[in-house]
Amino acid sequence: MSQAATALLQSDARPTAGDQALGPRPLTLAQQGVWFAQLRNPESTAYRCLEQVDLSGPIDRDCFAAAIAAAHASLPQLGAVFGEGGDGEPHQRLPGRPQTAVEHIDLSGHADPSSAALALAAARRGLPVDPATGEGMVRHLLVRRSADAWTWFVQIHHILADAAAFAILEKFVASAYSALAQGRPLPPAPPHTLDQRLAAEADYRHGPARAADRDYWAKWAAEHPMSAEAWRPAGPPLRTAVDFGALEGWTAWAAERGVSWAQLAPVIFADYANAVGGTPGRPIGMASMGRDDPGAAAFVGTAVDILPFAAPDAPDLDLAGLATACGAELATLAKHRRYRSEWLPPTHSPLGLPILNLKPFTQRLAFAGIPASVRFLAAGPVRNLELTVFPAAGRLAGYLEVEASRCDEAELARHAARLERRFRLVSTASAANPGGPGRKSRSDQVYVARPDAEPAQRIGIAELPLTTLAEEREGAECLAGPTVGVPQQNLSQWLTEGLTAEPEAPAVTFAGTRWNYARLGAAVAGIEARLAAAGVRPGEIVGVCVERSFELIAAVLAVLRSGAVYFPLDPDQPPARLAQMVRRANPAAVLTTCGGQGFALAPTIQLEPEPAEARSAAAPVSDWPVPALDPLDPAYVLFTSGSTGEPKGAVIPHQAITNRLAWMQDAFPIGPGSRVAQKTPIGFDVSVWELVWPFLVGAHLIVAAPGGHRDPGYLIDYCLAQQVEVIHFVPSMLRALLGHPRAAALASVLRRVVCSGEALDAELANRAQTAWPKTAIENLYGPTEAAIDVTWWHCRGIQQDPIPIGRPVWNTQLQVVDPLGRLLPQGAMGELLLGGVQIGLGYLDNPEATAKAFIADGRSGQARRGYRTGDLARWRADGAVEYCGRRDGQLKINGQRVELGEIEAALAAAPQVDSAVAVHSADGGGTLVGYVRMASGAAFDEAALRAAAGERIAAALVPAQLVAVDDWPVTVNGKLDRSRLPKPSRAKADSQPLGGARPATAPKSPVEELIARAMAEVLETGALGNQASFFDAGANSLDVARLVGRLHGLLGEDVPITTVYAHPSPARLAAALGSGTAVAGPPAGLTWLRGGPAARNSLVWVHPAGGLSWVYARANPFVPAAVSAVGLNHPGLADPASANLTVAELAVRHWSALAEAGILPAGREAGIRLAGWSFGGVVAQEMAAVHPERVAGLALLDAYPPHQWRAMPPGMDIAPWQGLLLLAGLDPAEIEATRTSSGDGPPVGELRSCLRAAGSAVGAFDLDTLAAMMAVAGAVPNASRIHQPKPYDHPMHVFEAAAPRSETGLSVDGWREVGCSAVIRHRIDCTHPQMVEPGNLARILAALFDTGPLA
């Protein structure tokens, strides 16, 4: 070791930089973030950062220790110790005791020294760390693995260093080591000091730049709606390494395009995280170095921040274009990134976002020629996926980390593999297609664009996959239904066989009448004859508009058997809508029993109940011709809701519906005699299988009465009477049925319940299984456009939410894709795509809608079509698919798909309406609200508009409430901002705007008042209403931490941070803390102001003249920690007969109340302290005088003995109304000054308004209780005058308001005159009302508890 090093080790190392002053300093902004986070989670080791420096050569231990000592001597900020000041704000001191200890361990004898070293470092990381003393805040561990292999582990608490600081420190230590080893002078210390950092921050905080940044971020937040996760402690992390390919490839890629991997990485990462997370367009968190102040780059301290960043996601740009755009966005971010993330609104906190950390600090270090490499092992808390990328050893490498509770190791490995695939596709794109010449030789031209570069392969973001290749294969296998050859490809032929097989078997029962197959066949033949007579040929569309009846069944079968295209028209639909559908379908004929209104455009065939004699006239069914049909010929057209207001007719071919029916017969086999319910309206595709399936296999259809499907009681009778075995329910109807008292009776008849149309929840499925233990509960899913159902889940055993929609049916394939159409991996939510034989042919006469929804099925590579369901789904590891809602505005009402656009179009169709918007609100089980902007001059008539809409859409779709708006609220991008539409009037009562024109609601309990006050103090704003949200009022996450600290002092209990997030208003928070009982009537004998009866020592406050003790809650912050505070209230508040109690009687009552509450002190030492203000002081003195053995201390606040009051001229007593204001801590003089009239004082209603305006909880009482308080206040002067005080020999603090007053002859000496021997007089320069202001209460309690110097 050199002499210099020895000298350094031996010297009393002192700080050399500019931080010598030992006084307390505030924390830097970044330090505050760490401080509060660590405070909230003191056990967490997440903030102990650790890096590993591997040294490949012989290290001189002493020289190394000297280099460490030199570093700490130069960097006193690393020795900071932390504490909290009296104001609750953290501060740090630099005691000038640099951390120089280096623990040295020799593991060279160990079998696996590297692993042992890591384990050792991990163990050291678990040792105690104490910011208050500095213990463990910095640790150096030097491990000798062999003579030529050493490792230096450096662990520093995150409040002292971030990754950049580590790098600077390591580089300095390496330079110092080299200098010391080679006898050269020490390198200069990294120059930036803590004080410089603090000064720069203070300049920023109070300067114009921060205001500009705040405006920028407010605008940014408005443009990027987000809902951030609430803060909670970060759990232990998982980590895996990633390798994004050779740096050379990246450098080449970047050079060809004039961009950097650092500009592209946010795009690739954000796109992946959002696609897999199902959060398209959501910002990610970008680590920001926080070193923008001049000189701050070299600061050894913590500065890093995470700011939200919206990476560009324009799919039309190629990756180079995206990287350029991203670079521009990053440059904008850079201009505003000094604004700390803690100042962002909580909705935009980057906590919980996927985070990208571009970390360019990897460096080649040399310790006197010994090469060293650095690895970071722990760099702070991790929550969502966090990707750290850096160039290292010729690779673009990094780590992917995540909180272990969010993801297991296997899943993290899959994330890593997919990200590697994505990044490498880019880096190898350049290698595979190396455009442009090699390195330019003339150095002064290398930076300009190269016009001669060949265009490289264009890759857009949509070309970057979200899965690995293996996952693609796995997904294709998992999401394919069984491939099964279905012989029936012609429904007409299949029906012909089914209808003619068993003529005598029962076929249809309706309204107590049964038809056999022969009878049914005859009716079908009869209708077919009429169709033929009307010239209808196979392939032509035939409408059926018939109520449930024999005629309906026969008509549907006749259309399908004849080879025509079945076109159901539900007669319950509004005629205008039916007319729309008929116009679109242009049917060759419409079969109807309804008189044909609305179908003027189509020829109608009127069906009548067939006369008995006509039966024999029908053609024998054996002669039925079977039309030759192609499997892709249309079988039926069924209209669904369209977003433009025009219904869309999905055309389903024969092969699709026969596949669906063949699968169903295989899955749910039925046969002759099986009884299947028909109760679904024909406009809903479920009716298709009900109407057809039984007749294919000789089963028996049981037709419910028209309208009967809506009546649970009817359905139970119907199923029981007809012994129905198979029935379909939309889940909401199943719920209604199970709610019927006789539902259990169906257990003996129902064999199978088929559910579809809505999400089936586990509670319902389990209820059904419990009620009907032998009944199979099936969950089916599918759109009308893919032949009714495409997936199936059999509910076996107890179900849990979410119940999957199951696996694909025969010859059907599923895919889950992101909005760019890329396959998503297992578990990720995306749009469900369908492929296979059940896909419809498209929408009738609507090529635009068809092109949007029916797509080429790229994966199969065949000329098949796929269908975009618009439904969100994810697939589970077992291959079952879960439904996750809709991706657009579509919703389901009564199982039917409804486009909000259709409702909007119906509303806007009224001539007096200019435009309309429909909103489905999830509140209260889902309600539709319509918003209309009236045409100029038109009056808003809700009833008339609803009636008009009801003519175009089904009654259930007409919004229950209509709201007229003057103008549509729009986002900054000019889009309609649905969230800012006014709430319908019914909900108005629930919303409580903060401040502004409407007065805030006053607190309703002392705890609410304390919370509201604490929130207002933290935010430095005026009084908060008790319903006001802390966050709406501007709170950020640090404010929450401060609030929690304050509440601990005020309430004497820990308030979990999560509770504040969950209950952000004073009223809700008080309720959540169990002490928010709103004022109902007069308060009982005593009020717990702080803590509860569990505390051993109590401070007992005695009410002032008005009888209520709440005003003393203001003293809570000054009550010592282990002491609880209770306030005694005058019994007259609850019982008017007690208003005139004497002081002596009051003392007796109060001691009883304390005994009942469990506060009976064992002796003076463990005893209570009594205090009272004004009249309360007189009562407190009496209480102490009768039981001096129970009292450990007594304080009278501006209270004087009765004989002084008796000596005063009349009219000096406090008036009742003044007493009322005083007990709320208000000064009556100020109120009086604002009044013009004098006399008896303001009426009680006006007094209450004053109380409420002042934010006093007293204002929450009803007028009767306030009147009772005034009655007590009115009785008090007399009680005071007639009282005869008793002597008291123990110390008695009397606080005298020293300001000039109108009363004469009041003096503390009066207490001595009545025999109090140990009066301690304190003068406080205040008025009588000011005696209970916080500053004065602090002094009073300090004296009473003897905890501090007196003024």
Binding site: T251, G295, A298, A334, L358
Partner: protein, 81 residues
Amino acid sequence: MNQIELAERLRRDIAETLGYSDFDITEDLTGVGLDSIRLMVLIERWRADGVEISFLDALAAPTALGLANAAIQNGTDETRP
């Protein structure tokens, strides 16, 4: 190229990237608006041209002159044509 010339050249590159050139080779680059991402881009370009500067060098001495000194210390062959 000596260190002043190299520093001048680096300054020109930085000015081009920033679209702003009113600063000299001794001025703190964070003060003139050079952020870490653009610095990384520049470092990649310089490295491609054989000018070896690490990000940490830039942190330690964030001026064009400091970068030039670091590049020379890092063994840049400043005699390259």
